[in-house]
Amino acid sequence: MTPGLLIFILLGIIAVASAVAMLLSRNTVYSALFLILNFLSVAVIYLVLGAPFIALAQIAVYAGAIMVLVLFVIMLLGTHQLDPREPLKWQRPLAIVLALALIVQGVYALVTRFGFQAATVPASPDFVDPKSLGMVLFQKYSLPFEVTSVILLVAAIGAVVLTQKQKKDGGA
């Protein structure tokens, strides 16, 4: 049992547990916080797998920016609980069955494809260097990079437009 595997199993348990907790929690704020925990654990897994830059980006963007935004909106809209009754009768059982089916199927497909022999590679400094990542990003993927900046712009404008207060005469 290598240290990498040990760390991975630990983090995996934390990630799954926090995800389950997020789903089951009745309090929206707790759900958000559990999700942040999930992100953090996954970020450490990224580190183990040799992606330090991405790990830190994950913490900064996901846990730091996105979840903060979500928390803002939760606070804005109030955290009152919703009606726990389920109007659609078969939704719960079916959802759990489907999820289990999905997991089983995925695992089966992966194991038959890869088997347990193929192994991940330990992280190495040349590989995980942010410089090399930057090289690939700005040379090979420069166009998608620009496009993503446009996406961000559009999202920002969209968010502003959507939340504008309606004028009295109906114009937006």
Partner: protein, 651 residues
């Protein structure tokens, strides 16, 4: 102008009546009754003038001319033109139709004036003359056609006019639809005949490659040698058309019902002209029939049996027009038998004389009927009397003398009393039968006797004795515009024999140019004497029996007791209509009913309805999927996702 140019006038025999009818359609109603009648009669009269000119031009150079102004159809091998044929045969028909037609038009001016008032719709006067002119035009197309297809156009056209004119008073008749039903019956029965003619036309085109008379008839012998079965089929199919148009067995049933139309219609169409189209067709197609002896035999027997059957039915009828209708069928049988025997000239001769005296008889009968109607008006309280029932008449000799004399002349001509026209023409037919068809001769002789008998019966019942009802008591003579055409036709009936006197054979030589040289029928003294004797015997017997009858309108016919069941059969026209009804019409109606209700409504509609209902059920079921909950939509998406994944992993 040189005589050849006159032939270019021939399209006018069709155009003049069409112009007359156009003028009447546009202006007739505004310019009044007399105007309509005069325009129509003038159109018909001018047609007669053109026919005379054509005959005169033809006399000097009697070979056939064809005037072919326009092309009609030109598809592949089929080329048909609007071509008018002027030859001795078609000119004879043109003269007869236009002459008798004009006289009947003039007669109708007066007759219809009374008739539209008697039936309560004076506005319909013009329509009558429009239809009559249309008929003349169609008949002219028929007789002047140079190819089978154009003749068929005329054939159908006269059938249409017959329908229009029989159903002229379409809202009247038995149960309010009687006249319309009679018109329908005529049209449909004719249609069955037309079907036969069409089959013949198809076969002719198929085996001869053309529909034009000269081209077809010149090859008749060759095709008959190569395909004898086809020739037989052509002739027999044509015969079916003849039985429809000329009212022979088995399609004669429409003609008695056609008496529902006004009397001038009966005279023109159902006595003198349209019904002779069949005889004309057979005469024209001599080339066909002479190469298929089997068909000739069939034609002869159809004609003979029809003649006999119709004569027996005429004996038992009480309606004055029905007697004449069955008499027409019987005389047509004579003509058909004649052309079947190859005696084309005899048949055509009888056609011409029959047009004269039968037209005369119908018109005179119309005069009698109108006299009775005048009597009904005059005697107030005899509204239920049928003015056409002979049992209500009697003693009209004194009340309507002119009508009596012309009717007498017509009746004697029909019976075959020398030297009136009917004697010579009927005698020629009997002579042709004597020369080789013994059984046919015997039957035709019996028919001649019956003809004289029923005519005598009719004469006595209508004109002699005492009036049987108040209507007959108050009957009066018809106006001059009615009686003058009667007189002219009577003259023609008397003198018509001149056309083909034995020894002189004018008509024979005239027609020989078209029909081929035949041996002129010799005058057989035995036959002539026998037919004359039988005619006198028949008339005398009728006089004897009927002048002694009980002087009451409701009394039984004097023949009822001695003949018993036979007479009942004759009265009921041997139940032919009932037989057709049971054998053909009722099963057909039942079949139609079956197709309509269980099949159409039950099966087909249910299939359509079922599809609609099924679609609706399916749609309603599917509608439940859209319940508005996003989460259930998401669930279905995941289900779909899993299904695709499973498919991909398994394959």
């Amino acid at each position: 102008m040189e005589s050849g140019q006159i032939f270019n006038l021939v399209p006018w025999i069709v155009f003049l009546p069409l112009i007359g009818l156009a003028v009447n359609i546009l202006l007739g109603r505004r310019l009044g009754e007399t105007f309509s009648g005069v325009v129509a009669s003038l159109a018909s009269g001018l047609t007669f003038v053109v026919a005379v000119l054509l005959a005169a031009a033809l006399a000097s150079a009697p070979n056939a001319r064809v005037v072919s102004p326009w092309e009609w159809i030109s598809i592949g091998e089929l080329t048909v033109r609007w071509a008018f044929r002027v030859d001795t045969l078609s000119v004879v028909m043109m003269l007869v139709v236009s002459l008798v037609g004009t006289l009947i038009h003039v007669y109708s001016i007066g007759y219809m004036h009374n008739d539209v008032r008697h039936n309560g719709d004076p506005g319909r006067y013009t329509r009558f003359f429009i239809f009559m002119n249309l008929f003349i035009a169609a008949m002219m197309i028929l007789v002047s056609a140079d190819n089978f297809l154009m003749m068929f156009v005329g054939w159908e056209g006269v059938g249409l006019c017959s329908y229009l004119l029989i159903g002229f008073w379409y809202e009247k008749g038995k149960n309010g639809t009687g006249n319309a039903d009679a018109a329908k019956k005529a049209f449909i029965t004719n249609r069955i005949g037309d079907f036969g003619l069409l089959i013949a036309l198809f076969l002719i085109f198929g085996y001869f490659g053309s529909l034009q008379f000269d081209e077809v008839f010149s090859q008749a012998a060759n095709v008959a040698a190569a395909h004898p079965g086809v020739m037989l089929l052509i002739t027999l199919a044509m015969l079916l058309g003849v039985t429809g148009k000329s009212a022979q067995i088995p399609l004669f049933v429409w003609l008695p019902d056609a008496m529902a139309g006004p009397t001038p219609v009966s005279a023109l169409i159902h006595a003198a002209t349209m019904v002779t189209a069949g005889v004309y067709l057979v005469a024209r197609s001599t080339a066909f029939y002479s190469v298929v002896p089997v068909a000739q035999t069939v034609v002869i027997w159809v004609g003979t049996l029809t003649a006999l059957l119709a004569a027996t039915i005429a004996l038992g009828q009480y309606d004055i027009k029905k007697v004449l209708a069955y008499s027409t069928i019987s005389q047509l049988g004579f003509m058909v038998a004649a052309v079947g025997m190859g005696a084309m000239v005899a048949g055509m001769f009888h056609l011409v004389t029959h047009a004269f005296f039968k037209g005369l008889l119908f018109l005179a009968a119309g005069s009698v009927i109108q006299g009775m109607e005048r009597g009904m008006h005059g005697s107030h309280g005899s509204a239920e009397t049928d003015p056409q029932d002979m049992r209500n008449m009697g003693g009209l000799r004194k009340k309507m003398p002119l009508t009596y004399w012309v009717y007498l002349i017509g009746g004697l001509a029909l019976s075959g009393i020398a030297p009136l026209a009917g004697f010579f023409s009927k005698d020629e037919i009997l002579g042709a039968a004597y020369n080789g068809h013994a059984a046919v001769f015997a039957l035709l002789v019996i028919t001649a006797f019956l003809t004289a008998f029923y005519m005598g019966r009719q004469l006595v019942m209508v004109f002699f004795g005492k009036p049987f009802t108040a209507a007959a008591e108050h009957a009066s003579e018809s106006p001059r515009v009615v009686t003058i055409p009667l007189i002219i036709l009577a003259l023609l009936s008397v003198l018509g024999g001149v056309l083909n006197l034995p020894g002189v054979h004018t008509l024979e030589h005239w027609l020989a140019h078209t029909l081929g040289e035949g041996e002129p029928a010799g005058f057989i003294w035995l036959v002539a004497g026998l037919s004359f004797f039988l005619a006198l015997l028949g008339l005398g017997a009728a006089w004897f029996i009927y002048s002694r009858r009980v002087q009451k309108a409701e009394a039984d016919d004097p023949l009822k007791k001695p003949l018993g069941a036979l007479f009942t059969g004759m009265e009921h026209k041997w139940w032919v209509d009932e037989f057709y009804q049971a054998l053909i019409l009722n099963p057909y109606k039942a079949f139609a009913q079956f197709m309509a209700d269980p099949v159409d409504l039950g099966v087909i509609d249910r299939v359509g309805g079922g599809l609609a209902a099924g679609t609706r059920t399916l749609a309603e079921g599917l509608r439940k999927l859209e319940n508005g909950y996003v989460r259930s939509y998401a669930l279905w998406m995941v289900v779909g996702l899993l299904a695709i994944m499973m498919y991909l992993f398994l394959s």
